[in-house]
């Protein structure tokens, strides 16, 4: 009934893609015959070396600050832009297309490229990393929120126009309460992603726990590497928990 002959072609094409991608990525499970090496390597990770814990925590705080500032500025700048990038609230077609294009432009540049460019002007440290995260998040949050705006119920907006409120104010006041819980959950997700991004940016000298992880790795301090990784995992989980707590309070 629901199996159509035409789908056979779809499955065939899909299988072809899987095969080609495996060839391109040298995907080969037989390579796991050297599995013992990994076990061996991981055994150097333990026991963890807790002597550096205060320093690690200090660096994690820097990472958290980087991720928070970058994603929060991204939200502050992306939110107004998202109203210009939504069909139902942007004043004109020109503004709509212009904002859309600029948002996808900043989104298409990976944070690490932003970071590498900014490093040349601002030098090593967390400041260029914050800016890199901010730029990328303006693009991502601007787009995500503009889609929430487009999916919002037009009724309340009409009601606010009908009471005689200014048109821009009618849009803002009627749409923001509708989308607010989803804006927050998008924001917290981006905050979490920003933590992981700031780790990568640490590898290119952006500071924080990412840079410590990278340095420990390069100097074979595996008993510190394991603690770095553990602390990072705990931070990500905590941010996730905090995010769902805030979101539940808001709904």
């Amino acid at each position: 009934m629901w199996f159509k002959k035409r789908s056979i072609l779809t499955y065939f094409v899909l299988a072809l893609f899987v095969y080609l991608s495996m060839r391109l990525t040298e995907f080969d499970l037989s390579k796991f015959k050297d599995f013992r090496n990994m076990i061996d390597f991981l055994s150097h990770w333990f026991p963890m070396d807790f002597s550096l814990l205060p320093k690690i925590l200090e660096d994690s705080l820097e990472t958290l600050a980087m991720a928070f500032l970058g994603s929060f500025f991204g939200l502050i700048i992306g939110l107004p832009l998202s109203f210009m990038a939504a069909k139902n609230t942007s004043g004109s077609k020109l503004i709509y297309h212009l904002t859309r294009v600029s948002l996808s432009f900043v989104r298409s540049i990976p944070e690490i490229v932003f970071g590498l460019i900014l490093l040349t002007a601002l030098g090593l440290g967390p400041f260029p990393a914050v800016l890199a995260i901010m730029f990328h998040n303006i693009g991502v949050l601007g787009k995500l929120i503009s889609e929430l705006i487009e999916a919002s119920d037009p009724g309340p907006q009409e009601a606010m126009k009908a009471v005689g409120a200014k048109s821009w104010f009618a849009s803002l006041f009627s749409i923001l309460p509708q989308i607010w819980p989803n804006v927050l959950s998008n924001y917290f997700y981006r905050f979490e992603v920003a933590i992981r991004t700031s780790l990568i940016l640490g590898f290119i000298g952006g500071g924080g726990i990412g840079q410590r992880l990278f340095n420990d790795f390069k100097t074979f301090q595996y008993s510190s590497v394991s603690l770095d990784v553990l602390v990072i995992m705990i931070i990500v989980v905590l941010v996730d928990l905090f995010g769902s707590y805030v979101r539940n309070r808001v709904i």
Binding site: G155, P156, E158, A159, M160, K161, A162, V163, G164, K166
Partner: protein
């Protein structure tokens, strides 16, 4: 007195006019119910009256002013005079009853004051007064999504009344409510109509309600006025003609979407 002169509305991409050269005069004290099938042009007519829809041609004249030539600022002033209630209530979610009713004042205040939500004690007292009039005093601090349909429409009516309007427009305000609640909402509308000396124009599908409460019935068919008279004159034959019904008996539920 509100005059509708030769109003025609054509939506882009549509073959027929949504409204075709409508001429109407609304007099002080009129409680008008507008009847007609879905797609007959009822909503379009109501939405032309407060400028949510701009007519393709023709003009609406009220208080010596013609709507067709209004600036945004003048249009906002007109809208303040026209309270409007909706089928889906169109309240602001996640705000309380009191907060929602206070938005009825937005047209009179600066956007900055509206944005930060600063209201004088007198303004709050006015809002509480209209909340009492619609019988929701005990629910003033309740969030609107926790109310029943009938209560939500009462909030909508309170919001419209806080504008202190000359007109009350209703776009199918009871189409989502059960028959008993619909009747109570209409009786509230009639009470407010008299107390606040309103001119009321309401779209409705329920012919019985219209005949019970209206002082005047207007029926639209394919964008044209096919009936405009006292409710007693709206005969069963007129009903069959307006709704393309087989007979009067099959009335039951005819709803717009």
């Amino acid at each position: 007195m509100l005059e509708i002169r030769n109003i025609t509305v054509r939506y882009p991409g549509m073959k027929h006019n949504a409204l075709n050269s409508i001429n109407l005069t609304i007099h002080p004290g009129d409680f008008v119910c507008v009847l007609g099938k879905s797609g007959a042009g009822k909503s379009t007519l109501i939405r032309c009256l407060n400028g949510l829809q701009t007519p393709s041609s023709g003009e609406i004249i009220w208080d010596g002013q013609s709507f067709s030539a209004l600036s945004d600022e003048q249009l906002r002033k007109i809208r303040r005079e026209m309270g409007m209630i909706f089928q889906h209530f169109n309240l602001i979610p996640r705000l309380t009853v009191l907060q929602n009713v206070l938005t009825g004042m937005f047209g009179f205040r600066s956007s900055f004051k509206n944005l930060i939500g600063w209201f004088t004690d007198e303004e709050k007292a006015q809002a509480k007064q209209v909340i009492a009039e619609v019988g929701l005093t005990d629910f003033a601090d309740r969030r609107v999504e926790h109310l029943s349909g009938g209560q939500k429409q009462r909030v909508g009516i309170a919001r419209a009344l806080l504008q202190n309007p000359s007109f009350l427009l209703g776009d199918e305000p009871v189409a989502s409510l059960d028959p008993g609640t619909s009747d109570r909402i209409f009786s509230l509308l009639q009470e407010m109509h008299e107390r606040h000396k309103l001119q009321t124009i309401i779209n409705v599908h329920d012919v019985q309600l219209a005949k019970r409460y209206a002082t005047r019935i207007i029926a639209l068919k394919d964008g044209e006025v096919v009936f405009d008279d006292k409710p007693e004159q709206f005969t069963d034959d007129m009903y069959v003609f307006t709704y393309d019904a087989e007979s009067y008996g099959e009335k039951s539920y005819i709803r717009s979407t």
